[in-house]
Amino acid sequence: MNLANLNGLGTVLLVVGFFVAFWAVAAYVVGLRTRNGSLMASGRGAVLALAFVLTMTVLILWGQFIGSDFSNRYVAEHSSTDLSLGYKISGLWAGNEGSLLLWAWLLALYAAVVTFIRHEEGQELLPFVSTILSAINLFFLFIVNFLSRPFVALSPVPPEGMGLNPLLQDPGMVIHPPMLYLGYVGFAVPFAFAMASLLANQRGGAWIKATRRWTLVAWLFLSIGIIFGAEWAYVVLGWGGYWGWDPVENASFLPWLTGTAFFHSMMIQERRGMLKGWNMALIIITFMLTIFGTYLTRSGVVASVHAFGDNVLGMWFLIFMLTSLAAALYLIISRRHLLREEHQFEAVVSKESSFLLNNLILVGLAFAVFFGTLYPLTSGWLTGNKVAVGPEYYNAIAAPMGTLLILLIGICPLIPWRRASVRNLMENFLYPFAVAAVITVVLFFAGIRKLPALAAFGIIAFVLATIAMEFFRGVRVRLKSGGESLPTAVWSMMSRNRRRWGGYTVHIAVTLIVLGIVGSSSYQVSKTYTVGIGQTMSLGGYTLTYKGLQQTRQGQAEVVLADLDVSHGGKAVGKLRSQKEFYPNSEEPTTRVGIRGSYKEDLYVILNGWEQDQTANFKLVINPLMAWMWIGWYILAVGTVFAAWPAGRAAAAVQHQGSAAMAQSD
């Protein structure tokens, strides 16, 4: 096949995809109205066909990237022949056109899996779910067909592409955007189930049960996406540290917060039939925020905050958001009788109320972040003066609310359903409180005197102690009841109740992440030095000797690296390299920070610049406890997978009985 025709083929496939999605929606809608089974079967077929068509489309674009087919403008603008394979593949999401195609493709894949997988609950909702997912995809297919086309032919064909923006040439680029997108797109599934249950006039919580796992999957991908973004921003200068409250970062954090709130409050609906309207609202908000995230990232609203709505693409996203919001609200209001609560709060202190508190804080935090992100726009409309808020605003809110949230992580899981007694509270919290108190005092005398940090460390100790106590109690019961070795006891306890122990694991993870954040933000120290070869710099017990510069080649880039010998407390502990990378398609280098990490702290060395005689300027930073943040994220992923993993058949039966028994006993 002539390579130039691939553009034509891709364009045709996108048109076909649009009509297939349209057919899926139409067949389902008519089929559902007329109870026509064969039409609905045809809709199912269309959902599968769309996944197939878009997979072909994406494969063509990937083929063009790998084969460096610069007759496609999108390829020519985001790739070049000398790029490594990984970066050629990530060209798919290096720009608008490709990443919107990625959205449509992932959504089609999710829709196909949802449509054809067997759900133990909510199977009857599937026709509605598939309709909604296909309707959402119509929007994205409209965009890639008319507004942001990935297959525009370029003539004359340039001999070489422009390459990938050097700032994007990092292993993070291969994994961070697709994970984030899998997370964003994934939240469309629970949203579709929620809307489907309203459309199907369902009163029960089948949609909640059907979406628990889907929500965890989306949340997991979003979490992984966020962490890879943070790690990337940490090692490559120019993105502003692991977290800078940049609007784009906020955009990914918002659905994470509301999604977290959602899968907590969904448990209350599952167990007690309460908070139905709230759950609906939460998943709608979460879905809207994923679209909002894409909108912020892709519309250019961020790059120039003034141009709100000027951009054509942005306007269409806005229209889509408002339309879906209006449709969702209409559904909720017209069917509000379905959302009547089955129970009332029985006591002010109960598991239900503690979940409510956790939700309020998560959503409140999301609201504060949302408000701050959009404040330059809203203040401009309201007062004519654009007023922006800096990271201080976010930190001032996130620090106390985050601390409170961590405290709730310790308290909530141990408060019984319906109502708590003083005795129960004493039993569960006396020892952890004692442990936390001792640790706080020790830390105080060890020199931790900043009150907020000290409080946070104390609370972290408390939380970890509560979880450890639960764990040992459970294991002891199993060991006493006989016969099992310790590892078997641990495994069978945890795998019998995956939700519970997966949840605890994620709680430990979040606590460790906060430990890293508190440590690195409260006790960071830094110093800048200009040194000649052989001279030393020192910071926080480390002494670094500058050994000079070297020039090498790594892939596409010319790299200048500074070698440093590191010693700590007079003892040599190793070498460190900090480098700048010069890419042929860029006038400016990319700085890659040299990091020497331990469980205690990261020594973080930035090479700022140098002169002819190799005199160089460095910035040294010590970030205490950083490693715990990354460790926490990995544990979080493991815990989420553990919680979402389907229980084996036998275990599932036991778990079912177990949870029924638990419901009775409390």
Binding site: R73, E77, H78, A94, G95, F146, R149, V152, A153, L154, L164, N165, L168, L237, G238, G240, V302, A303, V305, Q344, F345, E346, A347, V348, S353, L357, L360, I361, G364, L365, F367, A368, F371, Y375, P376, G380, N385, K386, V387, A388, V389, G390, P391, E392, Y393, A396, P400, T528, T530, N585, S586, E587, E588, P589, N608, G609, W610, E611, T615, N617
Partner: protein, 138 residues
């Protein structure tokens, strides 16, 4: 007072606490978001107050002294007026690629903007260069 009222009151109390937190955080960190022209128009009114300034980077005006380190450049507006910016810190790698900059800091008496924070925006944060004027719409 029944349970429902108590819970509702609790919810309202927490919501109020969050709003209170937002307002206090706001007062301490909000800053004017101005373009170069707007900043010049306000002049003395904003001297010494926290400002976030947005403008184009004047080509060829960038100097960097590694010993300090001190980065100096001019921010311009579409009308051509400019403000000199002094930033004590590291020169970001994408300085030459960047066309627009956002700086945070204060306007000094002498009219120089002393920046404590520098953010650059490339034509788009993620996009490379583009082939302009070809067929097809963007």
């Amino acid at each position: 007072m029944n349970k429902k009222t108590k819970v509702t009151l609790g919810v309202l109390l927490i919501a109020a606490a969050i709003v209170f937190l937002m307002i206090t955080a706001f007062g301490s960190s909000s800053m004017y978001y101005l373009t170069v022209d707007e900043a010049l128009a306000k002049g003395g009114e904003i001297t010494g107050r926290p400002v976030r300034l947005n403008g184009g980077i004047q080509r060829g005006s960038v100097t960097f002294d590694i010993q300090q380190p001190l980065l100096v450049f001019n921010l311009t507006s579409e009308t051509g007026s400019l403000i000199k910016v002094a930033y004590r810190g590291v020169k970001p790698d994408n300085m030459a690629q960047a066309t627009q900059a956002i700086v945070e800091g204060k306007l000094r008496q002498d009219g120089t903007f002393e920046a404590t924070k520098l953010m650059l925006s490339c034509p788009s944060k993620y996009e490379g260069k583009t082939y302009e004027g070809d067929q097809g719409s963007r």
